[in-house]
Symmetry: C2
Subunit: 180 residues, 2 copies
């Protein structure tokens, strides 16, 4: 995951991965038929581990649904800041690089997106029901817009090497655009 | 540009580029000191050519500013659809892959972003003055949110291989979220 996050799909040779985990090439092919299949598994693993954190955060939080979303994404911005913006979202970065090319990875990305979306829609629906989020756009649609906005924001952060703009625009999206 | 759009930075070897344009390696180094510098130039060239089209479209259009934005981005979605979603935005894709790594390319991306932003802010300000776009968020901030939303949307299109969702969310952003 770390190598892919840093070097991307094409920049991460199988040899780099095998050297890092000290596994011989022959063993690799006992488990995966190709680098492509391996990366598809990595995408699922990446999303699953994020979703475990997402669920735990929601479960342990005593905030309202909008507060949960805000705190969660603020924390994500802070962790990206702490890593000097070298990393982004592995899902978004791989989508940019190979999203239109590898069918196996595409399926893993679609699956990952849906794992996230079902959770986000749930929070947005609760926020709509309690009257803090606008209801003239369906929660599914709001979640799609938010995902796109967020992934693009991570790209901007990489380009600018700065988190200030991202924090400000996150406030505008959640506290103004999405507000009822 | 085509090779980088298809294979990304790490997937496009210098040899591939030189073979495609039939230029010997020695000549390349008369003009560029590295692949990195070359790609930084490509990023500027890509943005400049897009901005020429942007300016021409604005100049020739008889629509109001919001209509211009809508038509422009609808057309972009259509051209991406026609290419089967294999291509996205070269700027966004390279930002995802190397945005946090190459300083030369980062500067070219920052420059490209500003080329776009000055034009978008101009249109949004006019739309705000004529009362069709909300004024409780500054045009600069709206343009940042729109850029992020758009780049993320292109990633989603790559993953899903479908333009329908993108068209629908573009309508929601411009006709509902940004509306005054």
């Amino acid at each position: 995951m770390a190598l892919l996050a840093e070097h991307g799909y094409n920049g991460t040779g199988l040899k780099m991965i095998l050297d890092a985990v000290q596994i011989p090439k022959g063993s690799f092919y006992n488990y995966f038929e190709s680098k492509e299949q391996f990366v598809a598994e990595i995408i699922r693993e990446y999303s699953s581990s994020l979703m475990v954190k997402f669920d735990r955060f929601v479960e342990e939080s005593d905030q309202d649904p909008l507060g949960i979303i805000k705190t969660l994404y603020y924390q994500l911005l802070q962790s990206l800041e702490a890593q000097n913006y070298k990393k982004g979202c592995l899902l978004g970065d791989l989508a940019a690089e190979i999203g239109g090319q590898s069918e196996q990875c595409q399926r893993a990305m679609q699956w990952s997106y849906r794992q996230w979306q079902v959770r986000m829609v749930n929070l947005l629906k609760m926020a709509q029901q309690s009257g803090v989020i606008r209801t003239d756009i369906e929660a599914e649609q709001l979640s799609e817009i938010f995902w796109s906005y967020w992934e693009g924001t991570l790209l901007r952060m990489k380009i600018e090497g700065d988190v200030a703009g991202a924090k400000q625009s996150l406030d505008s999206v959640l506290d103004v655009l999405f507000k009822s």
